[in-house]
């Protein structure tokens, strides 16, 4: 597990490094429009607090993360977030929403958000009368990320990192989720501030 995780970290770091090198040579088209809505979809990695349910160590899960953000003001919006992460025997889902605060500079967007909602976790353990155990509980968390515009409509979510606390199986889980993917923009709210 440790080796896999270290490998994942190296891969992510290398990808990020290469991406950042490419930034200056990327299209210099300036996206002036500030969209009213963002739709994000991409890959999510989760460092799952498996010891809380009796596992000997944390579990590395992979899955998806999608979210939709509607902006009420230039800096303030509301995000709806859903993710599903999978590993051996484990399925971890979160359905949350909350406020998002955004700073826009040129083609970059930094944001932080707070999230509240539900977690639905499942562990596959075959029993005579059932194939798995499942639990639904409250969930909350917070985090932030960085988007880089490639066009008026599309951005790359370089990363989003969230701490997520859930209460399932009668115990508490404290997870870290890191996501990356693409963002689609639509609607019109205003104009960005140029550097």
């Amino acid at each position: 597990m440790t080796r896999n995780f270290s490998g994942s970290v190296r891969l992510v770091s290398l990808s990020l490094f290469l991406f950042l090198l490419l930034i200056p040579s990327a299209s210099l088209l300036h996206a002036q429009e500030v969209p009213r809505y963002d739709i994000f979809g991409g890959y999510a990695y989760r460092w799952f607090d498996a010891p809380s349910i009796g596992y000997p160590g944390h579990s590395n899960l992979s899955g998806f993360n999608i979210d939709a953000t509607g902006y009420i003001f230039m800096k303030l919006g509301v995000t709806i977030d859903a993710s599903g992460d999978y590993g051996s025997q484990l399925q971890v889902y979160n359905f949350m929403f909350g406020p998002q605060y955004t700073l826009r500079r040129d083609r970059s967007k930094f944001y932080v958000h707070g999230l509240f909602g539900k977690a639905q976790n499942r562990v596959d353990i075959p029993q005579p009368t059932r194939s798995h155990f499942e639990s639904v509980g409250k969930s909350y968390g917070g985090g932030g990320g960085f988007d880089y515009d490639y066009s008026d409509r599309w951005s790359i979510r370089v990363f989003q990192a969230d701490f997520i606390h859930s209460n399932t199986f009668g115990t508490a889980q404290n997870d870290v989720r890191v996501s990356t993917g693409v963002v689609y923009h639509f609607g019109h709210l205003g104009h960005k501030r140029k550097l």
Binding site: P51, I53, P56, Q89, F146
Partner: protein, 372 residues
């Protein structure tokens, strides 16, 4: 034109600078993940007869903390009591005292959860004690009502039990506990009616032959027994006498001879006994006085000397003591509080300290084992 070029260069410089900062930030973020976080642990399995189940707990080596494994307790047969875990940590066998059967559970290699493998194996009447040999090839089950010992060969790949030829082997009525010597050569059954220990030589096939000098007389109320890891001494607690009888163990015949000075005084109503992993220290759980007596053992004579911190190790109604395979902890199963309490062993002095870690059950606890 030059001005535009200058702005472009300036913008690129800003982007690079921001990129560098971002890279540093992201690296710091990733460094928050504790790489190599998996710490050592053991798994404890505890029968809960009133729930017809087996509870599973992860025990963290560093702290002794218990965490219940998801899905636990796992359904077993009717009124599960004794249980044993394979040395390979692949299987758990559980004796169902009302069903008169043995449940085979496969241990999940990732999280330690249990999945029962059917069909259940027929045992004698009311199986009450169970031990597996160190190679994992034989399982011994003592049956209280039918007063006999069932011996099974174990399929190393599947854990499936097959009764050996000649099984079950008779023993005297009212057996209360059974112990296998570490070498697997000798099997001892404590009998509460005769206040004695019946000894059996174990053949490689698993068949049992009563020892010539058996039974070996213990004190009044003989109730529980332990054999030290070096197979030099055997210990029997006597619940009515409030003593522990110490025997030297003949390594060739298994015969027990009480050592000079035995029996040694304990607390009130001793019902549980175990040693540390070196055999240098002996621990006796006193149900009546709610504490654990601690002794150092002379490795030559077997003479027991009570530790000077006595009687500070208190716990409520201990009825079973289990030694952690690493020798770090002793676990005390309570007969009344539905809990297992952890005690840290001082490997220098042998003294126990309550480490404050407990596993709680909704119902009373039957028996406990800890994986290696």
């Amino acid at each position: 034109m030059e001005k535009r070029q200058h702005e472009s260069d300036s913008s690129s410089a800003r982007s690079l600078s921001a990129s560098t900062r971002l890279l540093i930030f992201f690296s710091l973020l990733l460094s928050l993940f504790p790489i190599g976080c998996s710490s050592g642990s053991h798994t404890a399995y505890i029968t809960v007869p009133e729930e017809n189940g087996v509870s599973a707990y992860r025990i963290k080596n560093s702290t002794g903390a218990f965490t219940q494994i998801v899905g636990s307790p796992y359904l077993a047969g009717n009124s599960p009591g004794p249980l044993a875990v394979s040395p390979s940590n692949q299987f758990v066998w559980v004796g169902n005292r009302v069903d008169n059967t043995i449940s085979l559970f496969k241990i999940d290699g990732i999280n330690g959860s249990l999945t029962e493998v059917f069909p259940r194996t027929t045992a004698g009447l009311s199986p009450f004690a169970m031990v597996v040999n160190s190679s994992g090839s034989l399982l011994f089950v003592a049956n209280e009502v039918s007063a006999n010992i069932s011996v099974y060969s174990i399929n190393s790949g599947t854990g499936v039990l097959t009764a050996i030829s000649g099984s079950p082997f008779s023993t005297f009525p009212n057996p209360v506990q059974m112990v296998l010597s570490p070498s697997g050569k000798f099997l001892y059954v404590v009998n509460n009616t005769l206040d004695a220990v019946f000894g059996y030589a174990v053949a490689s096939s698993g068949s049992l032959t009563p020892m010539t000098a058996s039974p070996f007389t213990a004190g009044v109320g003989a109730s529980s027994m332990a054999v030290d890891p070096n197979e030099k001494f055997a210990y029997v607690v006597n619940a009515t006498d409030n003593t522990v009888s110490i025997f030297s163990l003949d390594s060739s015949t298994g015969a027990l001879t009480e050592v000079s000075g035995s029996p040694f005084a304990t607390g009130t109503t001793p019902l549980a006994v175990t040693t540390d992993t070196t055999g240098a220290y002996l621990y006796v759980g006193n149900e009546g006085s709610n504490n654990i007596s601690e002794f150092s053992i002379d490795s030559t004579t077997g003479f027991a000397t009570e530790l000077t911190d006595q009687p500070t190790t208190t716990t409520t109604t201990p009825v079973q003591l289990v030694t952690d395979p690493d020798g770090t902890y002793i676990y005390a199963v309570s007969g009344t509080t539905r809990t297992v309490s952890g005690f840290t062993v001082d490997t220098t002095t042998g003294a126990l300290t309550d480490n404050g870690q407990t596993a709680s059950s909704a119902v009373s606890i039957g028996s406990m084992v800890v994986t290696k």
